[in-house]
């Protein structure tokens, strides 16, 4: 998948003098605030959110971090 934002960022970083950069890739982060008591339950719900809206399984991998 083309990542024009990553490519442009790489170019700009190189122009600023940063050397030895191999690649820049952008990712999307959704910070979801919820009132679930159990982390396991929250993770299950967020996984469902990823499946049904936040990620398209054809091109995306996703990971979930509970804080």
């Amino acid at each position: 998948m083309a990542d024009p934002e990553g490519k442009n960022t790489l170019k700009a970083l190189e122009l600023l003098g940063f050397e030895g950069l191999k690649d820049v890739k952008t990712v999307k982060v959704f910070d979801i605030v919820m009132d679930d008591k159990s982390p396991g339950e929250a993770e299950k719900r967020v996984d469902e959110m990823c499946r049904r809206l936040l990620a398209n399984p054809v091109i995306h991998n996703y990971s979930i971090k509970i804080k």
């Binding site: 049904r52 809206l53 054809v58 091109i59």
Partner: protein, 276 residues
């Protein structure tokens, strides 16, 4: 059914911006198009007078644009909103063999909703394909050439000859149709077998060709696909922008006649007037 009785629902939410041209194309053919906000179908925050029922329409159009600002992914929000409240109505509409067309952002919405490619059933639970960022990494906005490869399933292209190279403009940043990489070839073969591939990007001679003829790097040069029954159709280029000859870039030099996009609307109207 007469053309003047055919009601067309041009469905929009915030950020849709091709509803006028889509409306105008159907209006010109003598049908009764209406620009309908999604809220009017779901019944949320609308008055009784504004409320509409999808089953009252014969054709559903998802026009182009940047619905909901293309947040999350192009078409994802529109798709989620439709799925939340309109799934049952949509499935009934499609099962009744009523036609649905998604143009550009509309195609992205159909894919995100799971209504295309719909390899099995009417609507998949999660998307089976994606319209990803163009290989060029740019918004590609210019005339593109299409050749119909559909044999006879798609109700939107019956009046287009397979030899014809149609000029239909593209304007998108995410138009690269992709399937899960490990199964992509198999899926394309299945789509071919099911007669679900409708248009491919070609060069002026009608041959498959790479960029810039194919603006996005789409799998097998695919520009548009339909469901197995042929009544749900999505494509990235904009037929509604070339309904009239005078919106073709070469209109002063080419012979007079209808615009290349007009046949899409005429085909579906013929289907509806004869079959529904």
């Amino acid at each position: 059914m007469k053309a003047s009785q055919v009601k067309v629902c041009v469905l929009r939410i915030e950020g849709t911006n091709c509803e006028e041209e889509s409306f105008a194309a159907f209006k010109r053919l003598g049908t009764k198009p209406e620009k309908v906000h999604l809220k009017q179908l779901t019944g949320a925050d609308v008055s009784h007078e504004e409320k509409r029922d999808l089953s009252d329409y014969q054709i559903l159009v998802l026009p182009g644009g940047f619905s909901a600002g293309d947040y999350v992914r192009a078409g994802a929000i529109f798709a989620a909103r439709m799925k939340s409240k309109l799934s049952k109505d949509l499935i009934e509409f499609i099962r009744a063999r009523k036609p649905v067309i998604g143009i550009c952002n509309g195609f992205q919405i159909l894919v995100e909703t799971g209504l295309l490619p719909a390899m099995s059933g009417v609507m998949s639970e999660v998307p089976e394909a994606v319209l990803g960022t163009n290989d060029s990494g740019r918004f590609e906005c210019r005339p593109t050439l299409l050749r119909k490869v559909n044999r006879d399933s798609c109700v939107f292209t019956a009046k287009i000859s397979p030899d014809k190279v149609s000029l239909i403009p593209s304007a998108h940043a995410e138009g690269k149709l992709m399937f899960p990489l490990d199964r992509s070839k198999k899926i394309v073969r299945e789509l071919e077998d099911n007669d679900q591939i409708v248009f491919k990007y070609v060069d002026p001679e009608g041959n498959l060709a790479v960029y810039p003829w194919c603006p996005n790097g789409s799998t097998d040069n695919i520009a548009g696909i339909c469901n197995r029954e042929g009544n749900v159709f999505g494509l990235m280029p904009h037929p509604e922008r070339v309904f009239f000859r005078f919106t073709h870039p070469d209109w002063t030099r080419a012979p007079d006649g209808p615009g290349d996009g007009r046949a899409v609307f005429e085909s579906v109207l013929e289907y509806v007037t004869k079959r529904l």
